[in-house]
């Protein structure tokens, strides 16, 4: 399902430097390759995404200089 958001991820990567200057620490909402806005919390960005676009794929991602992967120390995940 990551493939579903490839256009949104491409937009995020292409505008990352700009966003680091304007929206550091905030959560951006990207839909159909368009940057909709930057929000204070992840929940705010997700709720705006649902309100504006409905139950469809969109990307909410925090603007940080270095993304730290989520960490799973057990071997439960088959990845």
């Amino acid at each position: 399902m990551v493939e579903t958001l490839k256009d949104e991820l491409r937009t995020f990567e292409s505008r990352r430097d700009e966003l680091l200057g304007t929206s550091l620490g905030r959560w951006v909402l990207i839909h159909d390759g368009d940057l909709v806005g930057a929000f204070e919390t992840q929940a705010d960005a997700i709720n705006i995404g649902y309100q504006r676009f409905g139950n469809v794929p969109f990307l909410v991602k925090q603007v940080v200089p270095v993304e730290v992967p989520q960490d799973y120390v057990s071997n439960h995940l088959g990845i």
Binding site: N55, P57, N75
Partner: protein, 142 residues
């Protein structure tokens, strides 16, 4: 304070496993109801309280059963891989005793057959976890 307590026959060998129902988020339920579409029934699963997991995980395929679409992508690291991208979904978690919370979870295949989800530190960050090994039970309060 909302809470639930689970007794497990052998907490040490089985682990802190709780039956949790995964439902669409309140925002999606509102969209579905307002447009006259049916709201999918929650999906039940056995999930382990995992303090070694930074985020909550649902078994691959659950989001599709709920008709959900991804709202994010994150990289994850496991003992055998680094930087694997996983889709994120906004869901409602319904624990025993009708304790309800919302979370943004990742979807991934779970290797073990006895659990279909992990309750990670993102959820535990809002709670108190009491693990009483000698009585084979644990309590989570929010």
């Amino acid at each position: 304070m909302p809470s639930f307590t689970v007794a497990v026959p052998s907490l040490q060998s089985i682990g802190p496993i709780v039956e949790v129902r995964i439902a669409v988020s309140q925002a999606v339920e509102t969209i579905l109801v307002s447009s006259g579409q049916p709201v999918p029934s929650p999906v039940s699963m056995a999930a382990m309280i995992d303090t070694g997991a930074s985020g909550t995980v649902i078994q691959a395929g659950v989001a599709a059963r709920l008709g959900l679409h991804p709202v994010g992508v994150v990289a994850i690291s496991t003992p055998s891989s680094t930087g694997v991208l996983c889709a994120q979904y906004a869901v409602r978690l319904i624990f025993p005793n009708n304790v309800v919370g919302e979370a943004v979870v990742i979807e991934a295949p779970l290797a073990g057959q006895h659990i279909q989800g992990l309750i990670g530190r993102d959820v535990l960050a809002q709670s108190v976890l009491v693990y009483i090994g000698y009585t084979n039970q644990f309590t989570v309060s929010f």
